[in-house]
């Protein structure tokens, strides 16, 4: 079991460019979460999919962020017109069913730097 795989590990973009981050959840897990990690805010919830369906995107900045899960083996987080304040580590996690008290298994994250 390779765990949750995130690519790329590092991404540098210029202000105004687009960034697409990829996540491959653990096989057999039906829940996928995206979190953003910064020193100041810690780990912030962005969005949640269950069985590929979007369930909760309450943490997503509305205008430039979008997430998709086209199949059970991968999810993408897209940031349009990136801004310096988007610089953070973006973490993807999966869990078996997405229920209460389940363990979240995190990937190693994608460090996004917006110049």
């Amino acid at each position: 079991n390779a765990g949750v795989i995130q690519t790329p590990r590092h991404k540098v973009t210029g202000k105004g460019q687009e960034a697409t981050l990829w996540c491959e959840p653990i096989s057999g897990h039906s829940a996928v979460f995206w979190y953003r990690q910064t020193i100041v805010q810690g780990l912030e919830f962005l969005t949640y999919f269950r069985n590929q369906a979007p369930i909760d995107d309450s943490g997503m900045p509305k205008e430039r962020f979008s997430a998709q899960m086209p199949n059970q083996s991968h999810s993408t987080l897209k940031i349009q017109s990136t801004q310096p304040q988007d610089s953070a580590v973006y973490l993807c996690a999966s869990s078996l069913l997405g229920g209460n008290a389940e363990t979240l298994y995190f990937g190693s994250g994608t460090r996004l730097t917006v110049l």
């Binding site: 810690g42 780990l43 912030e44 949640y48």
Partner: protein, 110 residues
């Protein structure tokens, strides 16, 4: 508004001492409290967790003490080792969503 608070941003202890990391929360509906451990360059990983019906959970050198009335909990790391140096996140769960604190960076000096 931070729903889960960790009182110390950083903590340094000597090898062999007990490290105590504190956490408090606001929402009484939270019913499950995991602690995640994160090493540089890696994602957080579950270390130990407690449900709100319990007041103590022990796993080897790691113990959670939970006070539901005061809405706080603490993680005790007994006989701290240099390999325990990491960032520790307190979290609270209600339904599918985990809300994390901002983390405490622990350094264990040999």
């Amino acid at each position: 508004q931070q729903q889960v608070r960790q009182s110390s941003q950083s903590l340094t202890v000597w090898e062999g001492e007990t490290a105590i990391l504190n956490c408090s929360y606001e929402n009484s509906a939270f019913d499950y409290f995991p602690w995640y451990q994160q090493f540089p360059g890696e994602g957080p990983a579950l270390l130990i967790a407690i449900r709100s019906v319990s007041d103590k959970k022990e796993d080897g050198r790691f113990t959670i003490f939970f006070n539901k009335r005061e809405k706080n909990l603490s993680l005790h790391i007994k006989d701290s080792q240099p390999g325990d140096s990491a960032t520790y996140f307190c979290a609270a769960n209600m339904g599918y969503k985990l809300t994390f604190g901002t983390g405490t960076s622990l350094l264990v000096d040999p």
